[in-house]
């Protein structure tokens, strides 16, 4: 029965990726814009390089990138590329492929998003659970309203305000960039500390923006669990409140939150991309912002697809992990 469920999930996620890839393929081709022509027009504008046989050059590029073939053939080829993990070449940094660029940007994004998501998830759930726990002090409950307001504000805006107050006014932390100017990336302690210092503000803005989501969800779950028989029973058995809190209360309230984690990946990545762009970090967000500025369409499409693919994979992983957390799932048919 579980196998059937897994197969259904895989088919569903494949459908999601296929639809997304199809949208990403067709939308740009519906528009009248020609990225290669625009690219050359831009070169002509900025450097004065305007060859007379521009049309031939563009045609040659189109042959090179396979843009002269019939649309359907291009579509099949593109889908094949997506399956093989080939996202095409970059327009502005031609010999490099989009995938190479993505992989060189990826470590920054993964470290930032993983850390902030884990911290926000742990801290938010703890605060939420404490807020619904009858014995916890009042100030924890008072925290919920500000957290709710923070959750309403996009991480990008929080980041901007943090730059203003902490980096600009108090000059405590750098305003942007991944590391100090003039430093070359290396695996020395000095460089890592410098890079970490630059990640503090982006990380705080991402954590603050998502903390409320977890805390409010957890509080809601906690409130419903309070009246459950097994919690009452544990109390009457005379178990230590801390045992009840961790083993009975949090353990059960946490389950739906893990599903929430799968749903949150999308928004986490989107706000991460925007925050990276704000702070000029070299991750996926910086790459995307740069590509938009320079009209490098293949990078834009590549990043979009890559992110959607990774979200699908992450959702699938959560599906796999979920039964480990909740033993009841194994025996249920879904």
């Amino acid at each position: 029965m579980r196998l059937g469920y897994l197969v259904r999930r895989i088919v569903f996620l494949l459908a999601v990726v296929w639809v997304a890839a199809t949208i990403v393929f067709f939308i740009p081709r519906l528009s009248a814009r020609n990225p290669i022509r625009e690219r050359f027009a831009e070169i002509a504008r900025s450097t004065g390089f305007a060859p007379k046989d521009l049309d031939q050059i563009i045609a040659a590029y189109e042959v090179k990138f396979g843009l002269d073939k019939p649309l359907l053939e291009q579509y099949v080829e593109y889908m094949g590329g997506v399956i093989r993990g080939d996202l095409g070449p970059s327009l502005t940094r031609y010999p490099k492929t989009v995938l190479e660029l993505i992989f060189s940007a990826l470590p920054w994004t993964i470290v930032l998003l993983m850390l902030t998501t884990l911290i926000a998830f742990a801290l938010g759930n703890l605060l939420g659970a404490l807020a619904s726990w009858p014995r916890s002090p009042r100030f924890v409950k008072g925290l919920m309203a500000p957290l709710m307001m923070l959750q309403a504000v996009p991480a990008y805006l929080l980041g901007l305000l943090l730059i203003f107050f902490i980096a600009f006014r108090l000059k405590l932390l750098p305003m942007g960039g991944a590391y100090s100017q003039g430093v070359t990336p290396s695996l020395t302690l000095e460089f890592i500390l410098d890079a970490a210092r630059h990640q503090v503000l982006p990380a705080i803005s991402l954590i603050l923006a998502s903390l409320g989501f977890w805390a409010l969800g957890m509080r809601g779950m906690g409130i419903t669990i309070q009246g459950e028989d097994y919690v009452n029973f544990a109390e009457h058995k005379g178990l230590h409140p801390r045992t009840i809190f961790t083993q009975y209360y949090v353990r059960n309230a946490l389950l739906p939150q893990v599903t929430g984690l799968a749903l949150a990946f999308g928004s986490v990545i989107v706000s991460g991309v925007l925050v990276e762009q704000l702070y000029g970090l070299p991750g996926l967000g910086g790459l995307l912002g740069d590509a938009i500025l320079k009209n490098d369409y293949f990078i834009i499409y590549g990043i979009t697809l890559f992110v959607i693919l990774s979200i699908a994979i992450l959702m699938f992983l959560v599906d796999l992990v979920y039964p480990l957390l909740d033993p009841r799932i194994r025996y249920e048919s879904r």
Binding site: F12, I23, V153, I303
Partner: protein
């Protein structure tokens, strides 16, 4: 109770009003309990007043666009919010920007909710093949981060021709799946309620039942979904415009922040340039969330008990 009421009714007509408070008194009493709704509405009204009074007193048609005033001036008596790098009066920019942001949000919210209500009703009320198709499309589209698709759509359009209205339409293209899902679930539960059966037995047609019985009961949900839609619309258009994909000619709030970032406003010490738009957006987002929490309480009295 009834006894005293009867006595007082004879004695004084004013007392009867006490027994049956007017709609107005009840509303005020309710609002006193629903603080988040009041606070949210107050912020929205404040922002509306700011834009209305602002556009009546300031020449925003001119001063919110480049080369209108002396550039790079910090806040002063002449320019209360300062001026930016391109010679725009930030006060005029804010008045116009908040208005334009609100327009995008309202259009996107209306389209998203409208399509969601129609599809949700079709899906839930008729069921069968219609339901299967609508549900399949919604389910597959929901996990795709709409924002990234919007980046591609906005990137495929010639940026110079993007206006506030194209922006609103782009943003609403992928904003109907959530509302569709909520509306479908709501209609499904309402459909099974007794009063619908009574209506059907008393000979009402399908359309009559939809418009006279189901729709009025859905209003709080539709309103809440509209407010979320406005929020999501502003959120998405903000994201697009801080990436430089907005209508660049307009003083839209997101655009203003993008321009400030492009000119490294903080590095150059022009802190007022990005600060006001950020604060305005924070106010907008917080107020919409407060209103939504308030509406949730209004629509869902059960939430009250858990507080």
């Amino acid at each position: 109770m009834t006894q005293t009421a009867a006595v007082e009714l004879q004695r004084d007509a004013r007392q009867t009003r006490y027994e049956h408070p007017s709609r107005w008194t009840l509303t005020v009493r309710y609002l006193r309990r629903n603080k988040s709704l009041v606070l949210g509405l107050a912020i929205v009204i404040g922002l509306t007043l700011f834009t209305v009074v602002g556009s009546l007193t300031i020449d925003t048609e001119r001063r919110a666009y480049p080369l209108a005033v002396k550039p790079k001036q910090p806040p002063s008596a002449e320019y209360p919010l300062g001026t930016d790098f391109f010679g725009r009066d930030m006060l005029a920019v804010m008045v116009r920007g908040i208005w334009q942001t609100a327009v995008i949000g309202l259009i996107a919210g209306a389209i998203g909710t409208g399509v969601g209500v129609i599809l949700g009703f079709l899906s839930a009320y008729y069921g069968g093949a219609v339901d299967t198709v609508i549900r399949a499309i919604t389910e597959v589209l929901l996990p795709i981060p709409a924002f990234l698709i919007l980046v591609i759509i906005a990137g495929s359009i010639d940026r110079r021709s993007v206006t506030i209205y194209t922006m609103a339409v782009i943003v609403s293209l992928l904003a109907w799946m959530g509302p569709t899902r909520i509306m479908r679930a709501q209609v499904l539960t309402l459909k099974e309620r007794m009063f619908i059966n009574v209506a059907r037995l008393s000979g009402m047609s399908n359309l009559e039942i939809v418009f006279k019985e189901i729709l009025p009961n859905m209003l709080p949900f539709i309103l809440a979904s509209f407010v979320s839609g406005v929020f999501a619309g502003i959120f998405a258009s903000f994201g697009l415009s801080v990436l430089g994909l907005g209508p660049l000619r307009e003083p839209l709030i997101g655009n203003t922040i993008w321009f400030a970032q492009q000119q490294a406003a903080f590095f150059n010490g022009w802190w007022w340039w990005p600060l006001w738009p950020s604060l305005a957006l924070v106010l907008i987002f917080v107020s919409l969330t407060l209103i939504n929490v308030g509406l949730d309480e209004l629509a869902n009295p059960r939430v009250r008990r858990t507080e």
